[in-house]
C-alpha cells in the first residue's frame, strides 16, 4: 500500500506524467480554440494522425526537426481548412464533417505511408527531439526534473497554453473568437466576419492538434505507426469539457489525466497480476467521468457551440 503512495513522490512518475501530457496539451488547446469559436472539431483524431505522419516523414526525408513540426502544423491546418469550409460557410453538421475528416485524414495518411514506404517491415526511425534540461531549474528536486528536463516540444506545449490564454483573454482577436462562440450575431454586428474568425480558429486549432500528433513520432517516439494515436484525440475532447473551455484548467486536466495514466502503469507492476490489467487501463477514463460530474455544474460552455451561423438567417 505505501508503495502505491510512494510512487506519487518519485520524480520519474512526474516526468512521465508531463511527457504523457504533452501531446494531449497541444491537441486540447487546438480543440479548445475551435470550440471557443463555436466549432466542435471531431476531426481531431485524424488530424493528429496526419500530424504524426507529416512531421515524422519530413524528418525521415531529410528535413530538420523544427521543419517537421512546421510541416505537421501546416498539414493539420489544411485539414482544418477542409473542416472549416464545410462546417462554417456551408454550415454542414459538425458531427458528420468531424467524423468524416477523421476517417479521411487517417486513411489518406495510411495510404500515403504505404505508397511512400511499400517495402518496409519495420518502420524506419528518425533522430527525435532529445531532452533539453534547463540549467539550474532542472536541478530542483522532483519538480525540476518533471518540468525542466523535457524535450523542447514539451516546453512548446506549455508555451502554447500561455499563448492561447493570452490570445483568448488579452487580445482583440481572442475577444472576437470568444464572442463568435458565444453569440455570432454580436460579432457580425461589430463588423467582424464570423466566417473568417471561425475558419481561422479551426485552422489554427487543427494545426495545434497536428503538432500534438507529431509529438508522438518526434519526441515521445521516433517512428510512425498506424493507429498510434489510439484514442488520444477523443480524450482531448473530454479534456476541453473538463477544463470548462479554459486553457489553464484544460492544462490541469491534461496533466491530471496523464498522471492517472502514468500512475496506473506503475500500479499495474505492483498488483502482482491479481487485478486484470484492463482495470488499470480503464482508470483514467473512469476517473475522467467522475471528475466531469464534479465540475459539470459550474461549466459554462460556449453558447453557440455546434450552431452554424448563417448571415441573414431568420
Amino acid at each position: 500500500m505505501e508503495q502505491a503512495l510512494e510512487i506519487l513522490f518519485t520524480a520519474s512518475f512526474w516526468v512521465a506524467a508531463i511527457r504523457i501530457a504533452s501531446p494531449l496539451i497541444f491537441a486540447t488547446m487546438g480543440e479548445l480554440i475551435c470550440e471557443r469559436a463555436g466549432v466542435l472539431n471531431l476531426g481531431i483524431e485524424g488530424i493528429m494522425t496526419v500530424g504524426a505522419f507529416a512531421g515524422w516523414f519530413t524528418v525521415y526525408s531529410g528535413g530538420d526537426l523544427w521543419t517537421g513540426v512546421a510541416i505537421a502544423a501546416l498539414a493539420g491546418a489544411m485539414f482544418g481548412l477542409l473542416h472549416a469550409t464545410l462546417t462554417v460557410p456551408l454550415g454542414l453538421s459538425q458531427h458528420v464533417v468531424g467524423i468524416g475528416i477523421t476517417l479521411l485524414a487517417t486513411s489518406l495518411t495510411y495510404f500515403t505511408y504505404r505508397l511512400a514506404l511499400p517495402e518496409v517491415t519495420s518502420p524506419p526511425k528518425i533522430e527525435p527531439f532529445q531532452p533539453l534540461p534547463i540549467p539550474g531549474l532542472s536541478q530542483i528536486p522532483v519538480v525540476g526534473e518533471a518540468l525542466f528536463a523535457q524535450t523542447p516540444l514539451t516546453y512548446l506545449a506549455f508555451a502554447t497554453v500561455a499563448v492561447v490564454a493570452w490570445v483568448l483573454y488579452r487580445t482583440p482577436l481572442g475577444l472576437a473568437m470568444r464572442a463568435a462562440g458565444e453569440n455570432p450575431s454580436a460579432v457580425e454586428a461589430q463588423g467582424i466576419s464570423v466566417t473568417g474568425i471561425r475558419m481561422g480558429a479551426v485552422m489554427a486549432g487543427s494545426a495545434l492538434m497536428a503538432v500534438g500528433g507529431a509529438f508522438l513520432t518526434m519526441s515521445a517516439f521516433n517512428s510512425f505507426f498506424f493507429e498510434m494515436i489510439n484514442g488520444r484525440g477523443w480524450i482531448c475532447i473530454a479534456l476541453v469539457v473538463f477544463g470548462s473551455w479554459r486553457p489553464g484548467k484544460a492544462l490541469l486536466g491534461a496533466i491530471l489525466f496523464a498522471a492517472f495514466d502514468a500512475y496506473q502503469i506503475r500500479l499495474q507492476q505492483l498488483s502482482g497480476g491479481v487485478v486484470p490489467y484492463q482495470v488499470f487501463l480503464m482508470m483514467p477514463y473512469v476517473l475522467s467521468i467522475l471528475a466531469l460530474v464534479l465540475v459539470a455544474r459550474r461549466a459554462t460552455y460556449p453558447k453557440a457551440l455546434m450552431i452554424p451561423y448563417q448571415k441573414g438567417e431568420r
Binding site: 458531427h95 476517417l103 495510404f111 460552455y301
Partner: protein, 349 residues
C-alpha cells in the same frame, strides 16, 4: 457568401447533385490510384462491380450495411432529441456481450423463445448503458458527448476483460474470444451458404418501426420538440427529462441490436474486433440520412457499398487497401455537400 433555400428543387437537380458527389469521389479515387502507379481508368467499373456486380457482391454490401442500419437508427433517434450519443460502439458491444452470455447455452430454449429473449435483454443492456450518460446529463448537467465517448473505451476494456476472464471460450485455446452461441440462438442465413442473415430483415423492420415512431407517435413528436427547443417543450408540459430518458433507452437499445445481429447472425461469437467502428459510422449514416429512419437504410447501404466496392477495387487494381476508407470519407463529405447544394443556392453577396 450566403445560402438561400431553393423554392422547389427540381427532380433533375435533386438527382444531379448526388451523382456529382459520386463523380467527385471517383475522381479522388482515380487520382490516388494513379499516384499508386496503377491505371485509374477502370476504377468506376471495379468499384461498381465490387459493390453490386454480382449476387455475392450485393449480398456482401447488404451484410455490411446491417449493423450500420442499427447504429444509424440509434444515432438518428438520439440526435433528433439532441441527445448526442457518440457511444453506439459501446452499446453495440454490450448487446453482443448479452447475446453470448445468454446464447451460449445458459438458456436451453427453442429458437422461437430464445431469440426474442436475447433481443429484449440485449436491448435492455444497451439501453441501460446509455441511461447512465442520460441521467448524468439531466441531473448533473454532464456533457453526454464526452461521457458516451469515454464509455466506448471503458466498455471495450471491459469486454476485453470478460473475454480474457469469465467469457473466455474454454475451447478457444487461450485466444480471447467467447464460445459460440448455440444453434437456437443463431439468426438463420437468408440464402443458404451466403453471409446475409435475418439480422438484415430485423434492421429493416427496426427502421420502419422507427419511422412510425418518429412520424406518427406521441413519443416521436415529444422527441422532436425536446430536440428543437427543450425550454419551450418543458413550458408546454412535455416531460423533457423523461423524454430524454426514453430516447436514450431507445437509442441504446437499437445500437445494442447491432451487436446482437453481428454475433447471432454473422460471427457466432464475440471477439474484441467485432466492430470496425460501426458505432462511429452510425453517426455518419444517420446524418447522411438527415436523421430520417428510412433514409438510414439507404445511406447505410450506400456507405457499405462504397466500402465493399472500393475494397474490392483496391485488390483488383493492386493499390493499398486503405483507399477504401478514403473513398468512404470522400463520398460522405461530398454527399453531404451535394445534399446541401440541392436544397440551397449559394449567393455570393
Amino acid at each position: 457568401m450566403r445560402l438561400e433555400p431553393k423554392p422547389a428543387p427540381s427532380l433533375a437537380a435533386t438527382l444531379a447533385y448526388p451523382v456529382a458527389a459520386i463523380a467527385a469521389t471517383l475522381v479522388v479515387a482515380s487520382l490516388l490510384v494513379l499516384a499508386a502507379g496503377a491505371s485509374p481508368f477502370s476504377v468506376f467499373y471495379l468499384v461498381a462491380k465490387g459493390a453490386a456486380g454480382s449476387q455475392f457482391a450485393l449480398l456482401e454490401t447488404l451484410t455490411r450495411a446491417t449493423p450500420l442500419i442499427f447504429t444509424g437508427l440509434a444515432v438518428a433517434v438520439a440526435f433528433r432529441a439532441r441527445l448526442w450519443n457518440i457511444g453506439a460502439e459501446a452499446q453495440l458491444y454490450i448487446g453482443a456481450v448479452v447475446t453470448v452470455v445468454l446464447g451460449t447455452g445458459a438458456l436451453p430454449l427453442p429458437s422461437g423463445l430464445l431469440i426474442p429473449i436475447i433481443i429484449v435483454a440485449a436491448m435492455a443492456a444497451g439501453a441501460l448503458l446509455l441511461a447512465g450518460p442520460a441521467v448524468l446529463k439531466t441531473r448533473f448537467g454532464v456533457d453526454e458527448v464526452v461521457t458516451t465517448l469515454l464509455l466506448n473505451f471503458i466498455v471495450l476494456l471491459f469486454v476485453s476483460m470478460l473475454l480474457e476472464g469469465p467469457l473466455k471460450d474454454p475451447m478457444g485455446l487461450g485466444w480471447p474470444q467467447s464460445s459460440k452461441v448455440i444453434a437456437e440462438a443463431q439468426l438463420p442465413r437468408i440464402i443458404q451458404g451466403k453471409r446475409l442473415h435475418y439480422g438484415f430483415v430485423l434492421a429493416l423492420v427496426a427502421a420502419f418501426a422507427m419511422w412510425v415512431v418518429m412520424k406518427k407517435t406521441v413519443l416521436g413528436y415529444e422527441m422532436r420538440a425536446v430536440g428543437h427547443n427543450p425550454e419551450a417543450a418543458r413550458f408546454a408540459g412535455i416531460p423533457v427529462n423523461r423524454v430524454l430518458m426514453k430516447t436514450a433507452l431507445l437509442s441504446g437499445g437499437l445500437a445494442a441490436l447491432a451487436g446482437f445481429s453481428e454475433v447471432a447472425g454473422l460471427k457466432g461469437n464475440l471477439t474484441l474486433d467485432l466492430s470496425p467502428g460501426f458505432g462511429y459510422s452510425g453517426i455518419v449514416v444517420a446524418m447522411l440520412a438527415m436523421l430520417n429512419p428510412l433514409g438510414v437504410v439507404a445511406s447505410a447501404i450506400f456507405v457499405a457499398g462504397i466500402f465493399v466496392g472500393a475494397d474490392a477495387m483496391s485488390r483488383a487494381a493492386g493499390v493499398p487497401s486503405y483507399i477504401a476508407d478514403v473513398m468512404v470519407a470522400t463520398a460522405l463529405l461530398s454527399m453531404v455537400t451535394a445534399i446541401l447544394f440541392s436544397r440551397y443556392r449559394v449567393r455570393w453577396r
